[in-house]
Every structure is written in C-alpha cells, then in structure tokens.
C-alpha cells in the first residue's frame, strides 16, 4: 500500500460501553502486572543508588574483569553465530532437503531446553571424558572450564535466536527477485549478498541483537560447562551469583549494567523492527 493507511480501525458506530466496574477491575489488573514487572527493577536501582560507593564498585577489578570477559566472549559468540547461522538460515528458508523438519526442530531446541541441560550435554560431549572430548584430550586440547567453553555455551544457547529470525527474514524475501537477479547476470552467491542479505537485513540485525543479549545473560550452560573462574570463565551473570557471598555492592552494580543493556537492546530491536521500510 502506498500512502497513509486508513486511520479508522473500527467501523463507525457508538463506542462500546465499558461500565465503571469493568474499567476499575481492568485498571487494577493492569496495575498488578506492571508493578510485578517494574518493582524488581526499581528495587535494584534504588538499592544501587543507596550504596554509597557505587561508582567505586563499578571500577573494581571483579566488575571490570567480568565485564571484559563478557564482552569478549559474547562478541566471539556472536561472530560465530552470524558466520555459521546465516547460511544455515538461508538454507532452511530456501531449500527443502531431506530431514529439513528435523534440522529445523533441532535448531530451535536450545530455546526450550533448560540451559543447565545444554551445559551438561556440552560437558558430556567435549569434557575430558566426553564423547569427543576424550579424543580431543589425547591430542592435547582441553575445552571444559576454559574461556573457549564459555563461548561454546553461549553459542549453543543463543544461536537459535539468530537462526530463527534470520530464517524468517530470508523467507520474507520474494524469491522472484533472486531469480531476476540471476537473469541480470549475477551468480547465486552474488545474488545472496546483493539481494537476499540487504532485503533481510532488518531481520538479520534484530536476530543478532537478540542472540547477543541471550548470550550476555547466559548462566546455566556456562556454569555447567565452564565453571566460574574469575577472569577466565566468570562472566557477568556468574559474577553476580558468586559475589553475592561477599556482599551486595558488586551484584548490584553488575545488575544495573545488565538492566541498562537490556533496555537498550529492546529499544534497538523495536527500532529495527520498524525500520524494515522496504516492504511496500
């Protein structure tokens, strides 16, 4: 559709009457939900501000190390997810191959699987006594309880968020456009980069943002497979948990940082979702 959309969503007529009682009960219900969601955030911020040496804590070594580790590992995870996930998503969106359904389901599995189970699975596969780990151990590669393990755990848990969104993005690209591109002299590969990727771009970006956010919050799989070693495997969520033993300052500071990031991510996500303006 070109031009402004029709503004009238309902057919003209008398507005549906809502009684005072209905209004009040709906209002109360909404208030309960909003408070339940908002109260913990307010409490976090309030407590963090009340902590006198908040800024000092932010620059402490535990916090700085956790932050550094989190950003490095999630960055690497995101790169891996995008590099391997994009062709996978395109394949799932465009080609009906034998076992398509199975692969599709497998890709989504980590979303519903408890992260701890994922972590245990990774341990059973890549741990010292693991399916592949035993052999890797023989040639001198130890994965469990290393920074690499953190990346593996994050990638395992977060990749579906990217692949899913990217797949939907590619599916929305008119196949005819890719065929036209080929008749205009471009190979399939060139067509992928010049037609499919630019048109699916908002979805790819949104998927990447969601996957990154999920990787940043990763706890269960990481603690199972990588443990909680300060400076090596102790990412922000693990640091929050571990440092609770010694006081509230560090967990509060880290939590506030995560809350701010979460807000930013959602904001960007909404903005990108709106930004898919190519589609007429």
């Amino acid at each position: 559709m070109i031009g402004p959309r029709a503004t009238k969503a309902w057919p003209a007529g008398p507005e549906q009457a809502i009684s005072v009682l209905e209004r009040c009960s709906l209002g109360v219900l909404a208030l309960v939900v909003v408070s339940f969601l908002a109260l913990p955030l307010v409490a976090l911020l309030e407590r963090a501000v009340r902590t006198s040496d908040f800024l000092e804590v932010l620059t402490s070594s535990t916090v700085a190390e956790a932050l550094r580790l989190s950003f490095i590992t999630t960055g690497i995870s995101l790169i891996l997810i995008v590099v391997f996930g994009t062709p996978m998503a395109y394949l799932l969106a465009r080609v009906r191959f034998p076992g398509h359904q199975i692969v599709d389901t497998l890709i989504d599995l980590p979303i519903v699987l408890p992260p701890a189970v994922g972590g245990l699975g990774l341990l059973m596969a890549f741990g010292r006594r693991g399916l592949l780990g035993e052999w890797l151990s023989d040639i001198g590669i130890e994965l469990a309880f290393t920074t690499t393990a953190v990346v593996m755990a994050q990638t395992f848990v977060a990749s579906p968020f990217y692949v899913r969104t990217a797949k939907a993005g590619f599916e929305a690209v008119d196949r005819e456009l890719e065929l036209v591109s080929q008749t205009l002299g471009l190979s399939r590969m060139e067509t992928f980069f010049r037609v499919a990727v630019p048109l699916a771009w908002p979805a790819l970006l949104a998927g990447a943002v969601m996957a990154w956010a999920r990787a940043l919050g990763e706890f269960g799989a990481t603690i199972m497979f990588a443990g909680s070693i300060a400076g090596r495997t102790q990412t922000i969520p693990l640091a929050i948990y571990r440092s609770l033993e010694t006081g509230l300052e560090v967990p509060l500071a880290l939590s506030v940082i995560l809350v701010v990031i979460a807000f930013l991510v959602l904001f960007i996500f909404r903005f990108l979702a709106k930004g898919s303006a190519f589609y007429v």
């Binding site: 065929l179 036209v180 080929q182 008749t183 205009l184 002299g185 190979s187 190519f278 007429v280």
Partner: protein, 360 residues
C-alpha cells in the same frame, strides 16, 4: 531470434511446447494454467525443462541431447516478471545499474543515463520502487533488462498489474520500443485484445501445448480447432455439413438452415461453422434492403440480452445458437426484447470453417 522446443513434466501437468520467432513481438496467448509462464521461465533459464532445445539468436542455451544448460546469469536473456521484480532496497538508478559490471563508473553512469532517457524515466532516478506508479515500475524493469543488451526480452503479463485505462497507451509504447530496439520480445498474456494489439506473431497455448502459431489476424479469424476458436473469441460454433460449392463459396447445412462461407478450394465435409460476435449485424425483420452485400441472412429469435461494458451481447436462436455483439445505440434503435424476431446478417468471408469429423 528464438527457437524453443521443450517438454517438462510436473505433477498433474505436462508442458510440451515448440515455437519460433524472429525479431518481432511474439505473444504467448492462453488461459491461466496453460504453462505460459513456465515456458518463459524455461527460456530465461530459471526453470530447467526435462528435455528439448532452446536456441537464442543462433546460440544454443539449452539442449538436453548434448547436455547444454547455460545458467540464467550467462544467457543474455532479459526477463521481466509479472510484478516487475524491482529491488525494493535500491533506487531506480541502482536498479537499472544492477547487472552492469566490468564497466568504469562513468561508463556505467552513461549506460544508465541512456536507459533512463530511452524509457522516459528522467527525474525519477533517485526514487525507490515504492514511490513509482505501476507504469513507471514497468519502464524501470524494462530499462534494467535492456541495460545489459540482452539478445531477447521476455515479458510475463506486463500489463496485468496496471490500470486498464492506461493499457492501450503503454501497449503502443511497447510496440514502438520493439521497433526501435528490433529484438525478439516474447510476451505472455491471457488477454486476447492485448495479443491482437501487440502480436506480430501469436502462439495460442492451452493445456501445456501450443495449439496454433500465426499472425494475429490468422489466429483470430482462422482458429485451427474448437478450443482455440473459443479462446480467441469465436462465440458461435455450430456443426454442419458442406453440401455444395459455388464460385469460392461453400454451402453448409447447419441444422435446417443454410450458411455460406468463403473458402479456398475444397474443405472437409463435416465442419464447425465459426463466427465472431462482432461480425454479426442485426436488422429488423421488415427492413429487408439493408446489408445487401452480406451473403448470409438468417431470421432469429432473441433469447438473452447481456450488457458487456460499452457493448451488448445478444444471444439468438436461429436453429442453432448464434451470438451477436452490437452497440448500445443499435440495441435502442432495434428496441429488442427477449422473444423478438430479428434478421442476423453476416458476410461469407466472416465465416470460418474447422474440419470436424463427427464424433461416434
């Protein structure tokens, strides 16, 4: 130049077509589901037939017997799909320049400029497809395909998505363009008025097969079989027997009526008498002097009157069903009502005969 002879089997559908065209406008005309688009896509190389051969300007781009399959990106075939397939993320300029490679920046700009002026797109270069009208989109798609200097141009229902009010104008533009660039254009349509207007050569396609190829007037006045006749707009089709020949005329008995048809030589004994509704003139019973030149005058009873746009379709019974298409004005002058008697008049040259062995 194009030669196509391909077959392709799909679940529940069999495509088996062969036709050829010179540097002219070739129209593939047929109802939806006839396999027209599939044929076009096979020529473009985005569908692979099961067997056969496709030759474009003397270059074999597909031949199952020698295993040749030139991929679409190497075919030099311009393809414009039904909704034009413009890239929504690119401007008009970038759309036209899309396939231009191996050129310097200035050469590319020059080429885009040429196409922009050829297709009358000046001032629209920076726009995006969503800001264009249907007609403009069509011209951008043509410009984009032509920019690469293809050997042949394929257009799939280029007017279907456009306002009918501007069809005639854009069709004339397309004819002019074809004369200008002088290349083979294959156009797919289900609209016979479009085929008649555009086609130097018309191939009628029904049920996965090409039934008839010829000039537009040949196909429209001399369809080869009943189905083609129906599709090209013959509305009166009645079985009859040729009884006598008289000075280039065949005298045919249709039921208990007599119809004369202009023929060359001798035709089969059993025939289908075909008549287009616009070739039938209706006159009042008492007014027996008009249209002396017409060879066939049959009294008929009006059965139904069906308005169709600016004209009115009169369904008559004159021993066999006969359809006439007259203007609203004639209808008023004749003051026809269902049940009225009129005289249906048509020339012997308007009658087309299809050999029709009686079914046993």
């Amino acid at each position: 130049m194009l030669e196509v002879g391909i077959s392709l089997g799909l679940p529940g559908f069999e495509l088996d077509v062969s036709f050829a065209g010179g540097d002219e406008m070739v129209v593939l005309l047929g109802p939806s589901g006839a396999g027209k688009s599939l044929t076009l896509r096979s020529v473009a190389g985005i569908v692979s037939p099961d067997s056969g051969r496709i030759v474009v300007n003397g270059r074999t781009v597909y031949d199952s017997s020698t295993g040749i399959f030139v991929p679409p990106q190497k075919r030099r075939v311009g393809y414009v799909p039904q909704d034009y397939g413009l890239f929504p993320h690119l401007s008009v300029e970038a759309n036209i320049a899309f396939g231009l490679r191996g050129l310097s920046r200035s050469e590319r700009r020059e080429r885009v400029g040429e196409m922009v002026s050829l297709m009358g797109l000046r001032g629209l270069e920076k726009r995006h497809p969503r800001q264009l009208s249907g007609g403009q989109k069509q011209r951008v798609a043509l410009a984009r395909a032509l920019a690469l200097g293809p050997d042949i141009l394929l257009l799939d229902e280029p007017f279907a998505a456009l306002d009918p009010a501007i069809h005639a104008e854009l069709q004339d533009e397309l004819v002019t363009l074809q004369r200008q660039i002088g290349m083979t254009i294959v156009l797919v349509t289900h609209d016979r008025a479009e085929a008649l207007r555009l086609g130097d050569r018309v191939a009628v396609m029904i049920g996965g097969h090409i039934r008839q190829v010829g000039s537009a007037s040949e196909v429209f006045t001399s369809p080869v079989d009943e189905e083609v006749a129906t599709f090209v707009g013959v509305e009166t089709i009645a079985p009859g027997q040729v009884h006598a020949y008289d000075d280039g005329l065949a005298v045919i008995a249709v039921g208990d009526r007599r119809v004369e048809a202009a023929v060359e030589g001798v035709v089969a004994k059993d025939v289908l008498v075909c008549l287009r509704p616009e070739d039938v003139v209706l006159t009042p019973l008492q007014d027996s002097n008009s249209y002396i030149s017409a060879r066939n005058r049959l009294s008929a009873r009006v059965q139904r009157i069906v308005p169709t746009g600016t004209q009115v379709r009169i369904i008559l019974d004159c021993g066999f069903p006969l359809v006439a298409l007259i203007t609203k004005q004639s209808l008023e002058e004749l003051a026809l009502r269902p049940g009225d008697e009129v005289v249906a008049t048509f020339k012997a040259t308007a009658v087309h005969l299809i050999p029709h062995p009686p079914r046993l």
